[in-house]
């Protein structure tokens, strides 16, 4: 594209004349002479990566990704494909947002700081907790950070972290890596028909518990019916009550603060990101009392030299670049731009739009379950609970075979048991659901 650059980086601007002038100024004979690398470890091979034109590169990626099948995804379990309004792309893609650095110079970053401040405020409203940071990587790592927070803030000598035995295995594994450097151990408590088994939990809890984790909705799409009791159990044992959720569910379901949650984690990118192979946005909110132990970045309000309101990253002494090994987390780069997208999407929906979306997730899941339940060879939902977005269905045929057959018909579903599939309505248009019901009827008997 850039005429004088037949070879070399198309994004490096020097002409031969520039290079010569610059070397002369430096007093060096060649660019290579500037590299102070001992000969014995010099790399004189090649990576064997061909350079391509922009157009060829685009065609290469298109051709590789073209191998992905074009399926209607009825997939969820922590990652969702809601429709993202075009506005979100157009605004978030403005290069000032997309290509700026972390806001260490707030005087020239007010716009991003304000957007993140508004994102924090959105989460404060949704959770009822006073403090939300401006992002972790995803739900799993946010849970891991909550555990290290628990490790820091609890007075007790406890070491047990309790999680439901219905938990995405990836989320638990991530948590285990996060606590590997602490004395904490992760244990599971029982679940009954898709909800916390309160009696079983009561048996499991003792003073050694520093963190009690529950999710609402659960990974199977069920809505927890006795969260307040879970919160009380945690409180009674001086354990941190950590609740997993997301902004859409939180628009409709009980407010975490009202059931005693100390920390809320989850994936906030249910708003803002389309399906993106699991890329997410770690939601992290907590009570004010833990403010100085919060991991990640916080945007606060201050004043500038003319006394006008100004935004800035604050309480940075918690962070790695200042506190080093005593930081509240090692996180540096987070998911700021995704938080921006989430904030724009939420603003585009407005409060009614968010409540409506969550409400439709309940009614559409209920309706789909009822329709599947009418099919010979299918029972849905498996759990006698309220659901949002998704539910598990029993199939008389082996679930793997049913899923494979559905895939041939253009639909992707989860296999979650030998005879259980899980389906999610989020983002799937009505007429696709109609065709899905037909497809299930075709393959399930």
């Amino acid at each position: 594209m850039h005429g004088s650059h037949a070879t070399g980086s198309p994004y490096a601007p020097h002409t031969e004349a520039d290079r010569t002038a610059m070397l002369e100024a430096i007093g060096s004979e060649s660019v290579e002479a500037l590299f102070d690398i001992p000969a014995d470890i010099r790399f004189d091979g090649r990576f064997d990566i061909d350079a391509r034109t922009e157009r060829e590169t685009r065609r290469l990626v298109r051709s590789i990704l073209g191998r992905n099948d074009d399926l209607t995804e009825l997939l969820g379990r922590g990652h969702y494909g809601y429709y993202v309004p075009s506005l979100v792309d157009h605004l978030a893609d403005r290069s000032e947002f997309l290509t700026s650095y972390t806001q260490y110079q707030p005087e020239i970053s007010q716009g991003f700081l304000q957007a993140l401040f508004e994102y924090q405020s959105l989460l404060v409203e949704l959770t009822g907790l006073e403090v939300a940071n401006c992002s972790m990587y995803d739900a799993a790592t946010a849970l891991g950070e909550a555990a290290t927070l628990a490790d820091r803030v609890r007075d007790t000598t406890g070491h047990r972290v309790l999680v439901p035995d219905l938990l995405r295995e990836e989320r638990r594994s991530t948590l285990e890596n996060y606590v590997a450097g602490t004395d904490l151990d992760v244990e599971a408590y029982p679940v009954d028909d898709g909800n916390v088994d309160l009696a079983g939990l009561e048996d499991a809890v003792d003073e050694d518990v520093v963190l009690l984790y529950a999710e609402n909705p659960t990974v199977r799409g069920t809505i927890e019916e006795h969260l307040d009791a879970v919160g009380e159990l945690a409180d009674a044992n001086d354990a941190l009550f950590v609740l997993g959720s997301d902004p859409i569910a939180l628009s409709l379901l009980e407010r975490p603060a009202d059931v005693g949650a100390d920390v809320v984690v989850g994936d906030a990118s249910v708003l803002g990101l389309p399906t993106s192979y699991g890329m997410g946005l770690g939601l992290f909110a907590t009570r004010e009392e833990y403010l100085r132990q919060v991991p990640g970045r916080l945007v606060g309000v201050s004043e500038d030299a003319t006394d006008r309101r100004a935004y800035t990253l604050t309480l940075q002494t918690r962070e790695q670049h200042i506190r080093r090994e005593r930081a509240t987390s090692n996180i540096c780069t987070n998911q700021a731009w995704v938080a921006l997208r989430t904030a724009i999407h939420a603003a585009a929906l407005g409060p009614s739009g968010m409540v409506d979306l969550a409400t439709r997730d309940v009614t559409r899941a209920r309706e789909l379950a009822a329709r599947l339940d009418e099919i010979v060879g299918v029972k849905a939902p498996v759990h006698d609970r309220h659901h949002i977005r998704e539910f598990v269905a029993h199939v008389d045929q082996p679930a793997r075979a049913v899923a494979a057959d559905l895939e041939r018909l253009g639909f992707a579903v989860h296999v979650v048991g030998d005879h259980e599939i899980q389906v999610c309505v989020a983002g799937v248009p009505d007429e696709r659901l109609d065709r899905f019901v037909e497809a299930v009827a075709e393959v399930a008997r």
Binding site: I49, A51, V61, Y101, E125, A305
Partner: protein, 479 residues
């Protein structure tokens, strides 16, 4: 710059949830019992035109890479090629991570190829793409090291050595991994002090974390000896990839004796920083460590598809540490990374490093501030001398450029850590140098009241921290 009200100052609408006041209108009340729902939700309700203006205005109060030079040392703020956004936005990239392998061969192939590219670039045998940022990559590296030692019956190793001048994440990551951090001073020339290293190393050493070139831009010339020393005591050598953009095509961490490394894709492969992420921090390791990498990785099957194409599959490394992300990392960022590497190829990558090093050396030559250490590569650390480096930065804002990283590494008094990257032209470097030099000639009074020409004037950090107001709700409570 005009003040832009908060969304909440433009509108706040309370919507009742559940019961009769249900926002969904047409429905027969709430679909859930009242005790399972919240009472209400209060948020701004604004139209698309109003939102477009709000965020457009906010964007105008941000300095991005398309605004001008961004010479943040160690942060490597490069121009982000526009086309990489287009490939990441391809509809075929929007797939769910729980899809069957058969139905996401495209995604698996791209990930496989990227693993392969990164392995070649770093001289590493195996690569995971899962870590969602550089610090997460460091954490994977430390966890892998721990698992390796544990597997070898050396779980007692409880120390990680980190040079004084290292990135803060190195310290924090080692601590998160449960290690005691042993801090290593620099020698007089700004490099690892071999004697101090020998003193620090012991049978308790799990790893030494090193950046090369280091944060002063200096190549650790004794890297072969350092590797030998670390390996001698049974430790592992970790490469912090933050400065890899200095070396592309000229030296590879694997060849220097590093056992494990992370790649900062935004620093080396020009993915956008997004005002603080998302990033990606792939990790490469030598063969011995490969069994411990996070699950899953991607490999090619032996057989081919009916149409003759290779088939890719996920697999769990034999002694995997498990997961460090709920799914498989920041996929969209990885697509951009792949596209960047495939665009530049060998020649482009090598030229990127050459130009980055040339630019740093030229800029250092052009500025009036002293640069105490050298020879440096892609970045240099000047000293503001009698001036306060943070004030220098604020004043540089007034000249329409982004300032360097300041006050770090502390080995240089009032450090101005400067990295122009390869994307700046000579003209821009001259303009940047002029900004440095103008500020160098100014007195403290001018510096302390800076910036004057920015959207916000100097912001009071103390007040922000002393009286934290972190949401619009907090502002309301106040008033």
């Amino acid at each position: 710059g005009e003040y832009e009200p908060l969304l909440s100052e433009k509108d706040l609408t309370r919507v009742e949830v559940g019961g009769d006041g249900n926002a969904s209108g047409g429905e027969d009340g709430s679909p859930l019992p009242d005790d399972l729902t919240r009472d209400s939700l209060e948020l701004p309700a604004l139209s698309e035109p109003e939102l477009a203006r709000h965020y457009t205005r906010l964007s105008q109060m941000i300095y991005g890479i398309d605004s001008g030079p961004y010479p943040l040392g160690s942060c490597t703020m490069k121009y982000n090629p526009k086309f990489t956004e287009d490939v990441a936005a391809l509809p075929a990239a929007a797939v769910h991570p729980d899809r069957s392998e058969e139905s996401v061969q495209g995604t698996l192939e791209l990930l496989y190829r990227l693993q392969d590219y990164l392995g070649r670039i770093g001289g590493m045998d195996a690569v995971t793409l899962q870590p969602p940022a550089g610090a997460a990559g460091e954490f994977v590296g430390i966890r892998v090291a721990a698992a390796y030692h544990e597997h070898n019956g050396e779980g007692h190793r409880d120390e990680v050595i980190v040079p004084e001048s290292a990135h803060g994440t190195n310290f924090a990551t080692a601590a998160l991994g449960g290690y005691d951090v042993v801090s290593l001073p620099s020698d007089d020339e700004g490099r690892v002090d071999l004697d101090a290293l020998e003193a620090a190393l012991s049978e308790n050493t799990a790893a030494l974390m090193l950046t090369n070139p280091n944060t002063l831009g200096l190549f650790e010339r004794d890297i072969a000896e350092i590797a030998e020393l670390v390996h001698e005591v049974g430790g592992l050598l970790y490469y912090d990839g933050a400065n890899l953009n200095a070396l592309l095509g000229r030296a590879r961490p694997g060849d220097m004796g590093f056992d494990v490394m992370h790649y900062n894709v935004h620093k080396t492969f020009a993915t956008p920083h997004g005002g603080g992420g998302p990033g990606a921090g792939p990790v490469g390791v030598v063969d011995d460590l490969a069994p411990f990498l996070p699950a899953p990785r991607i490999r090619k099957r032996d057989e081919r598809s009916k149409t003759g194409e290779p088939i890719y599959e996920r697999f769990d490394p034999e002694r995997t540490i498990g997961k460090v992300h709920g799914f498989e990392g920041n996929w969209l960022v990885l697509v951009k990374t792949f596209a960047y590497i495939a665009r530049l190829g060998d020649e482009g990558l090598a030229d990127a490093s050459a130009s980055a090093v040339l630019n740093a050396n030229y800029l250092a030559e052009r500025i009036d501030y002293e640069v105490p250490y050298g020879p440096f590569h892609h970045e240099f650390v000047a000293s503001a001398g009698e001036q306060d480096a943070a004030d220098v930065a604020k004043r540089m804002l007034d000249y329409g450029v982004h300032p360097p990283t300041t006050k770090w590494p502390e080995i240089v008094p009032e450090a101005l850590m400067t990295e122009p990257t390869e994307v700046e032209s000579k003209t821009t470097l001259d303009r940047l140098a002029a900004a440095f030099n103008a500020v160098a000639g100014e007195d403290d009074a001018a510096l302390e009241t800076a910036p004057e020409r920015t959207t916000a004037r100097r912001i009071d950090q103390t007040s922000a921290a002393r009286n934290p107001r972190l949401s619009w709700q907090a502002l309301e409570d106040e008033s």
